[in-house]
Every structure is written in structure tokens, then in C-alpha cells.
């Protein structure tokens, strides 16, 4: 399947190339429909927990890194509007907690984590931040273990450049 970025580039190149006047409206319309289909496939908006395959998570993560032009978890957090609050409550039995209200998204992150755990936790919750609004049935009582498990497939993409 053609990737969305390539499809967009190709479509733009076709439309804006010197020979664009030769392109029929029909072709452009068909190309746009194909692009729309690819977009929807890459950017599903009504996911169920049972839809969360590794492939879906990978696509979501890859799309995010393209959109924000970085795979650095801390930069991604900033760009997706996930505000990190470092908390030192002296406990080591939690990594991160996601809070949201009125469009504000906060990641409480345990300051007692080591560097790798910290970075992985940010990455995991960045993916979760992208995922949550697309889910129609986020289960009750979801916890950090679930988030870490669900988002694991996307970590490969975020850490592939380290």
C-alpha cells in the first residue's frame, strides 16, 4: 500500500506539474478519493480496544512522527500538547498517570524513574495521548500496565533512531 506521505507528494506533483492542465478533473477527484481512503485507514477515529493490534499502533505512531517531524518522545509530548508534570511522592510503584480535563492533558511522571524508564514512559503515554481520543470504549480501570502493553508496538518506531 502506498504510504500517505508518498501519495500526497505524488498528487501534489501531478496537480502542480507543468502538465497539470492535461489532467482531467476526473483523475484529480479519483486521486483525492484514494488519498482520503488512505488517510482514514491511517487515522481511524472510532477504534475499539479489540482493534488495537500492533499494526494499528505502529501506524498511529508512524503517522505521529511524520506529522510532528520528530520521534523524540519529549519533543512529541510537547507537540501533541501533553504536559509533563514531574512528581516525587517517594513511591516507586507507579510510572506515569494520564489526566485530562477541559482539553488539558497532563502526564504525571514519577521522578524516581531512571533515565530509560522515564523516556519509555513518556513515549508510551505520548502514544496513549494520540490513541485515547480515537477510542470509543476505553475500558474502565485502565492502568499504566495496560497503556505500556498497548503502546509497546509503537515504541519500536520512537526508539528506532537511538
Amino acid at each position: 500500500m502506498m504510504e500517505i506521505g508518498k501519495a500526497e507528494a505524488l498528487l501534489n506533483a501531478q496537480i502542480f506539474s507543468k502538465g497539470s492542465e492535461d489532467l482531467s478533473e476526473h483523475f484529480i477527484s479519483a486521486a483525492k478519493q484514494i488519498l482520503k481512503n488512505i488517510r482514514e485507514k491511517n487515522n481511524p477515529v472510532d477504534l475499539k480496544v479489540t482493534d488495537l493490534t500492533d499494526e494499528v499502533i505502529r501506524q498511529l505512531t508512524a503517522r505521529m512522527t511524520r506529522q510532528y517531524a520528530t520521534s523524540n518522545p519529549l519533543e512529541l509530548a510537547e507537540r501533541v500538547g501533553l504536559h509533563i508534570v514531574n512528581v516525587d511522592d517517594g513511591r516507586t510503584d507507579w510510572t506515569g498517570r494520564l489526566l485530562t480535563r477541559d482539553g488539558v492533558w497532563l502526564l504525571l511522571i514519577n521522578k524516581n524513574l531512571n533515565d530509560n524508564e522515564y523516556r519509555e514512559t513518556v513515549a508510551s503515554f505520548v502514544i496513549a495521548r494520540e490513541l485515547l481520543p480515537r477510542l470509543s470504549n476505553w475500558p474502565q480501570g485502565v492502568d499504566q500496565t495496560f497503556i505500556h502493553e498497548v503502546t509497546a508496538a509503537g515504541m519500536v518506531i520512537l526508539f528506532s533512531d537511538i
Binding site: 504536559h83 512528581v87 511522592d89 513511591r91 507507579w94 498517570r97 489526566l99 488539558v104 497532563l106 504525571l108
Partner: protein
């Protein structure tokens, strides 16, 4: 029993005496409440209190875009939400907002 303004006034007096400050930011710090300033591009709110129920951690977020002179009151107002939240039964709706405004004024003017 409903929460009276006298009770709130007493809370504030005890709180300010205990921690030696009426600065809402310092009171929040003394109560282990995280304060976090953010800019989400929206200027129609000043501050919000959020709690993570599992860890019990409270966070007050302040809108970086809100007028500076309103932020201290906003923090004090959210502090009141957190203090009142411990109570059962919890006042609701307008009553709650009126009590939080009252308490915030008590903090600021002390």
C-alpha cells in the same frame, strides 16, 4: 451539615497560621499540590485542579495566557476546590463555586 462561610474562614485562618503564608502558591506547595503552568492556546480559563485518584496526587494547572493578576486568585480558588473536595457531602454547582470564591478571597486578603 452544609459547609458554612464561618467554617471556611476558620480553615483559612488555621492554614495561614500553620504555614505562615497567605501566598496561594506557597500554600499549595506546603500541601504537596503540584502547580503547573501551561499554554494550550486557549485564554478562556485561568486554573483547573485535577486529581489522580490512584496516587491521590493533586495538580493545579494555570493557564499561561490568563492575566497575571488573576492567576493567584485562580490558584486560591482551586485550592479551595481541593480542600472542600475532602468533605462529604460535597457542595455542588453554584454553591461550590461561590464557596470557592469566598475562600479564595479569604486567602488573598489575609
Amino acid at each position: 451539615m452544609s459547609l458554612s462561610k464561618d467554617t471556611i474562614r476558620r480553615w483559612i485562618r488555621d492554614l495561614v497560621d500553620k504555614y505562615g503564608t497567605n501566598d496561594p502558591y506557597r500554600l499549595a506547595e506546603a500541601l504537596a499540590i503540584e502547580i503547573h503552568e501551561i499554554n494550550n492556546g486557549n485564554n478562556n480559563w485561568i486554573a483547573r485542579a485535577l486529581q489522580d485518584k490512584r496516587t491521590g496526587i493533586w495538580v493545579i494547572v494555570i493557564n499561561h495566557k490568563s492575566p497575571e493578576e488573576e492567576r493567584a486568585f485562580g490558584v486560591a480558588h482551586e485550592l479551595m476546590h481541593i480542600l472542600i473536595h475532602q468533605r462529604n457531602p460535597l457542595p455542588r454547582g453554584d454553591d461550590l463555586e461561590i464557596l470557592c470564591d469566598f475562600g479564595a478571597n479569604e486567602i488573598i486578603r489575609r
